[in-house]
Amino acid sequence: MTPSMTADAMAALAGAGVSRRDFVKRSGALIVAFSAARLAGDLDIAPGTVAAQGINGPGSPQLDSWIAIGADGRVTAYTGKCELGHGLFTAQTQLVAEELSVPIGRVQLIQCDTAITPDQGTTSGAQSHPTNFNQSNLALAAATAREALVQMGAKRLGVPAELLTTADGQVVVRDDGSRRVSYGELIGGRTFNLLLNRNARRKPASEWTVLGQPVRRLEIPAMATGQFEYVQNVRVPGMLHGRVVRPPAVGATLNGVDERSLQGLAGIVKVVVRKNFIGVVAEKPWQAEQAVRRLKVTWHEGARLPDQRTFHQHLRSRPTRDTLAVDSGNVDAALAGAATIVRATYLHPYQMHASVGTACAVADVQPGRATIWSATQAVYPLRSTMAMLLGLQPENVRITFRMGPGCYGVNGADTVSYDAALLSQAAGRPVRVQLMRPDEMAWENYGLPFVIDQRAGIDASGTIVCWDYEAWSVSRGGRPGGNAPGNVVTGFLAGFEPAGVAPRSPAPAPAGAYGNGNNTVPSYVTGCIGGMCGGTGTITSERMLSHVIDSPFFTGPLRSPARLQNTFAHESFMDEIAAAVRADPVQYRLRHLRDPRLRDVLTAAASKAGWDSRPSPRTGLRRSGVVTGRGVACVLYEGDNGYCGLVVDVEVNQDTGAVEVRRCVAAMDCGPISNPDGLRNQVEGGIIHGISRALREEVTWNADRVTSIDWRTYRPWYLGDRVPVIESVLINRPDAEAMGAGETSITVTAAAIGNAIFDATGVRVRQIPFTPERVKAALAART
């Protein structure tokens, strides 16, 4: 970014030490200390859940932690939710500009830096809009500031506050525009010394002029012209370059490192070993890279991995940790009494984040203190675990966010931050580490594999009377959170243990408030716990039982973690049931849905797509050549965080098994729309990412190691691959709560494609990815 910040503030920011106090001192104004509350340990929470991601930190009740106004009227805002490529930086800047009635060019947003921004935990889980755009945190700070400015203006102008308004960074007398006073005159350079006011009046959407507009993303001109500073571009005086040596196989442990093998290589500064962690520091990146290739390392063999071909059976055979999301207690009886029972099993593989650039970080670790430039989604949690790793006090560690390539969850950003820090600590100088492609892909925190068994009972009229879900998935490690550096590979290699799975069977009865953070509960059931029903459907007999086993590989949240896998199974199964009773898939869904907003996105997508009401598969199926079909799916993401209905048209080449998505129509409802073009971009990106994952992506392994370690062995959807026409219907709900939008369309994509393949061919493919081989095999098996 080339910020509109003043030169003084920029210099203060650049020169800030590890604490907010340093920054305040140097900038000569503005900010006060903020809550020292730490993230609670989260390891007791089921891995993969929203809570386990440690999403929201304590924030700050102090207005001055969020908003500062300079004497020139420029607004500086501080946020703990960072830009990940999804447009949040721009949307948050719009929010501050709107609530404070200043032009967007006069707002400088500072994001995710433990020295100067509030602790907002992790930027993930599509939680940034709910957190910062509803009546809390950043939005509340801006609204509180505006009210305070109006009060100050009332005093200064001698006019009652209710006769004042705000515009263009000034408090103005409503009936006499000539009487006005600027924010700079009222507060410039001084602190508010106020707490956030829960009752501060937000601007209603009807008055918006900046929010709700398709404001162009602020970083894009710099990105398009190669000027933008990613973490990969951070350069620090005296900086060295590091590369790491990961174990060759899962579970392998270090036997020995022969440093003499580097004799004769120029520029080598240090070989660093800490338990099973190995890295080399050199003057130049190429020297470090050649060194890790040449370094002679011997390893003890690791464990044998379960056979990939039978891995889904393996999942069913291990000790499990069991959870019941809902259990009405009468599912077995309802099944026994049903006129028809439909059954199906769905399989999902491990997939990876596979960011387009490998992870990179720069660390400057000095005795007693450290500064880390990192693309982490979680600056404060990383500060805590970094302190554990380095043996420092957290307050002496500064994590400063710089954007990396799109992460889609916990990619290599945290682990490479540890890599850089360990090497810098050993070398005593700043070190930049860039992972090599196989280093990253072989050791990621992969997205979750699943086996999901579904059963539904149908009565004589064709209505579903009970739904029984039983799933097996895995966990190992995850986000490091505030206390578990071993949850990612570097921390583990350096001697910290990853969070594992504590077996627990049978599952305790569901208790507490209903939640559907993992979309374990299908949309068509009532979702009742203790008589309180939070689900979106009508089916009262319901049981959702999940088993988690220990994973041979690290796992972690990957865009729509578990939600995508569950929704694939639910929305495919709903289609199978509709087909079993010869009902139109849209009408049949509506028949079992009671949430009006979910019904709306479904019907809006169908209507825009020109949905032809009829059962699937289509009549007159041809058994060879290229055939076409349509499919539908819908979801309320995380049970409360964004609605999407999606209709896709596909072509299936029955001779090759190749599936091509030709058209997608998505209807989205995420409450009030902050930026319609940003929302469209997220819908489109989610669908393309979803196509790539549905049709191609799968982690592979052999007896002892991961074998999908580059773009040939883990092949995603390239730009030259055909892409569908994508149409978005954006349903704006100005008066509703803000919801997330980044993970919603991807959640329904695989199911909609699978349903369209069925419509086109009459064949149900129940295993992701729908590769040509798998589709061809399914076609060949049809009777």
Partner: protein
């Protein structure tokens, strides 16, 4: 180590380096350019693409000694924030990116193609882009931006 002279974005630089060093490292570390990026180091994704004598080249797998004396253009060599090149402007107008990390691959590959083949067909564009990766899924907008740029050239 040896001194190698490079012409990058119209300026001449002399760098003292191991001649087998990948061009990318010289550009991003010795010259501190931000456009070309490390994606895979294996010519599989395109993030490091630069234009050398009119051809799109993967700088991660090009030893610097091979391009001594050649005219090298990086993403920042096309235009500036204030005055972007028309193809950069097309990407800005279409808001054709999310994280933007892949843009050297997308823009430089498309530009090299369209400089050579101004009326490239959809199939030719698809072929050129078949080894260029965007993981955020901005495909639809990127292809729209490339078409917008093509049309602009025709009417210019």
């Amino acid at each position: 180590m040896s001194v190698i002279t490079l012409t990058v974005n119209g300026r001449t630089h002399s760098v003292d380096t191991d001649p087998s060093t990948p061009l990318l490292y010289v550009l991003s570390d010795d010259l501190e350019l931000r456009g070309p990026k490390f994606g895979c180091g294996m010519s599989q994704c395109g993030c490091c693409t630069v234009i050398v004598n009119g051809q799109a080249v993967r700088s991660c797998a090009t030893p610097v000694e091979k391009v001594a004396g050649a005219a090298i253009t990086t993403l920042e060599g096309l235009g500036t924030i204030e005055n972007p090149h028309p193809i950069q402007q097309a990407f800005i107008d279409e808001q054709a990116m999310q994280c933007g990390f892949c843009l050297s691959g997308v823009i430089m590959t498309a530009k090299a193609l369209l400089d050579r083949t101004p009326n490239a067909t959809e199939a030719q564009i698809g072929q050129a882009m078949s080894t260029v990766l965007c993981r955020c899924g901005a495909h639809v907008r990127m292809l729209a931006a490339i078409k917008r740029y093509m049309q602009g050239r025709r009417t210019a």
